[in-house]
Symmetry: C4
Subunit: 196 residues, 4 copies
């Protein structure tokens, strides 16, 4: 299951590049127009970078989670499948943000984008809490304090991403910036924990 999940994360991450649209040669105004056209597309690149970082950090955490899992059961497999569903879905709200960031619909697009991460963070917590409740599926050699530390780290996710969701209605760049910041934040806390 873990190798299969890894593959899905890797493919979803790589497919994001298909959301980057090449400007049409015939639509450009002047020779200098390509750089300008690409610069105007910055929301596309910002969404690409944020989605890439988020899926990568999700993968690192998913990998870490599986280090503590010794066995699986039906409910765990179902929750893991739900997580993969949302991971493979990420390229779609990413494309929405790219298409609409400079339009009046930007708030809706950014809210759906952050909303996808809210859902991802909730499913991630459900998966871990199901596995760790009463050490149900946890390797008996895992230290309880380490398991509790992971539970605590993950529990911030849904609230933080919900803040990004609300922020989307006030300021779209702030919402996207928070999503990117959260990916970097979880990357750093995850890495520290790992080497601790």
């Amino acid at each position: 299951m873990e190798a299969f999940s890894d593959g899905v994360f890797a493919i979803a991450m790589t497919l994001l590049v298909l959301d980057l649209k090449v400007p049409k040669a015939d639509a450009l105004a002047a020779p200098a127009g390509l750089l300008t056209a690409l610069t105007r597309q910055w929301p596309t690149f910002a969404a690409y970078l944020t989605s890439f970082a988020t899926i990568l950090v999700m993968w690192v955490n998913h990998h870490k989670l599986f280090n503590h899992i010794r066995r699986t059961d039906g409910a765990f497999l179902f929750l893991n499948g739900l997580l993969l569903l949302f991971v493979t879905f990420v390229p779609f709200p990413t494309a929405l943000v790219s298409e609409f960031l400079k339009r009046p619909e930007a708030r809706t697009a950014a809210a759906l984008y952050a909303g996808t991460y809210v859902a991802l963070a909730i499913v991630f917590n459900l998966l871990w809490r199901y596995a760790s409740a009463g050490m149900r599926l946890i390797d008996p050699r895992s230290k309880p304090e380490e398991v509790r530390a992971i539970t605590r780290d993950y529990s911030f996710g849904p609230a933080f991403y919900f803040a990004a969701f609300l922020l989307a209605f006030l300021s779209v760049p702030a919402s996207l910036g928070l999503c990117l910041g959260l990916a970097l934040f979880f990357a750093v806390t995850g890495s520290t924990r790992r080497t601790a």
Copy 2:
């Protein structure tokens, strides 16, 4: 062969997201139009969810099947290749349903969609029955009653999906709903069996 098949399942599942079309910014009527446009696309999301769930459940069952296989031969490899052909084909009827669900051609599209699952279920049964007949390719340590239980579980698939195929001509939503229900049903029976 199993790792290769796993890769094909993972990629086919992740490619489904490419069938989700981003509404064109220029084609929207008003600022509030994005949410409305996405809501109108619900058949696309329903087909995406159903195909994702079906491929995931197929993968879980394929994985379980391989747990009992000790060796392979030419016919088994051929049947497994045929199974992978239909798995990689799934994104196409999914896209057909997305494109035509609100059109007069919806029945044809839904019938082709359910028909693909009929073919998948038949090939899945052929693969397993070829391998398990007289314990031909089965690990001698597998318990015969477990092998028989798998044979019995799988044998329902073609008939159930054929019912979804016929239902497509009466009611398209009912046919799609049955396909989704079958994926969930096989997920639950598969999981129970696994932990039993």
Copy 3:
């Protein structure tokens, strides 16, 4: 190197489905039009099936080849890279055939399609002959007669695919049919050899 190559084969095989075009809802004449439109697209499905079968058989043979390889060197890695280049290229001539099979350009498209397989078969032979010449990279436990049998089997490939290439200028369906037949032929001989 083998796991990496396996991944490339699996992805190239799964990407072929992107060449299957969904008919546009607005372009259809009547409710019954979907099935007619899909039936008219049969060249697309024929090319899809042939490419899928060819890549799958190539993978089975590539896998078998690696069973006899004990070590690699620079030239072997270069030839394997060249093989992967042509494998990942297959979706392109497949799309060409789909687009042009009912046009005057069909012969050119079919010749490029069969030509790609000529190149693949030649690189495959170069890879194996480089590895097996004087048992250079071969596992010493491999039986020389088995190595010679593989050399003999593979040596037919380039000539057969070259016949399909020439046939493209006389009859496009015959050329495509020969390509599909060759995939099935190599599947059967490969499988027999495997179980022998």
Copy 4:
């Protein structure tokens, strides 16, 4: 981490084929037009070949690098993630070059293309130097002279690709040719080193 990275390399390499555009049947002038149309697309094929070779060589070197790594830490994972970001990004500048190579914007496109490789080469060096500084993450069994040889080999990359970047403003074909030449050069030096 290594298997996950391998997957990302394999997928990025295979997705490049999606940048090869099939000429539209309706846009061709005459029956002989297909070959002419494809020949005119040579920049697309040149960019495809160069990107494929570059990602493949990057993968070989990445694989070799991991042979010397015994453990990872947070900064290493972050740098490896940055490397994967640029690897998955490669299909985008490749598509830019394909679209603009015969246009006045060709220089900008080629500069962005070579610039992506400059970034890749710099991140590759950072990753290796971080891991190898004071043998931080290196397997103690690795020979120091081998580690130093790798450091020396990689250190040429950024300067060479920066030359290709500058060359883009003088001659686009020369810049692309240098990029392809560098991939072949690193393939040869990498392979020699490997068998040494």
